[in-house]
Amino acid sequence: MSNSLHVGVRNAVAAALSALPSLADGGVVVNRSTPMAKQYAKQIRVFLETSSGQPIVLSGQPQDWTTRIRVEHVARAASADENATDLADALACAATERVLADMSLGGLVQHIQPKAIGWFDDEADTSIATVQVIYEAVHRTSGQSIAA
């Protein structure tokens, strides 16, 4: 049994973000909802969200998909002198450059692009923040399968 091409797209994004040198001490986690542990200052979290398919006119025709990938760039400040939103934002900038360095993800998709960005923060022992980047990737499967 194989995975969908959609999971392959998510994995390609995660692989681009995992390349060395690493961007975050907490690494890149994929589709996990556990919180970033206290021992880490930064982490990148990749989620496969939803995918919508274009209508097929002729039976058996290949199908085009628009797949949403959410990437969370999480950071915590080390002290009151640091701003976690700025740290997460810088992480998001570096991470986005990684993903968009090859907008075909090695030929897996027609293109991938960021469609929305959100900045969210909170206060704890130090400030904590996440920058959420929603990517949309356009790709194609055969008419009979969603597998890669």
């Binding site: 556990t34 919180p35 542990a37 206290k38 021992q39 880490y40």
Partner: protein
């Protein structure tokens, strides 16, 4: 006796009474291991599972504990998160290794 000393005694007694012998990263610890039912809702789809956690003395928890093995009985788990309560105890969030 200071409040902190009394608190440490209460914690130690509670773990002695309700806990069991476990191993965290190769070191013997006394921990209250709980594997309770958890029902998750995945966009309207209900799934039964277990939420696994262990409560132990914060002094027994290494700083970088995430990813370390936790053994209870013959079962081995991996530490996902450490949540100190601020009163001397820490809850480890675990998953099946």
């Amino acid at each position: 006796m200071t409040f902190d000393t009394a608190l440490a005694r209460v914690n130690a007694r509670a773990l002695s009474r309700f806990g069991s012998a476990c191993v965290l990263a190769g070191v013997a610890v006394q921990a209250d291991f709980v594997s309770a039912h958890q029902q998750s809702d995945l966009n309207g789809v209900a799934i039964s599972a277990n939420a696994i956690q262990a409560v132990l003395s914060s002094s027994d928890v290494p700083t970088a504990v995430v990813g370390l093995p936790f053994v209870h009985g013959s079962d081995t788990y991996t530490v996902l998160d450490a949540q100190p309560d601020g009163y001397g105890l820490t809850t480890l969030i675990l998953e099946v290794a």
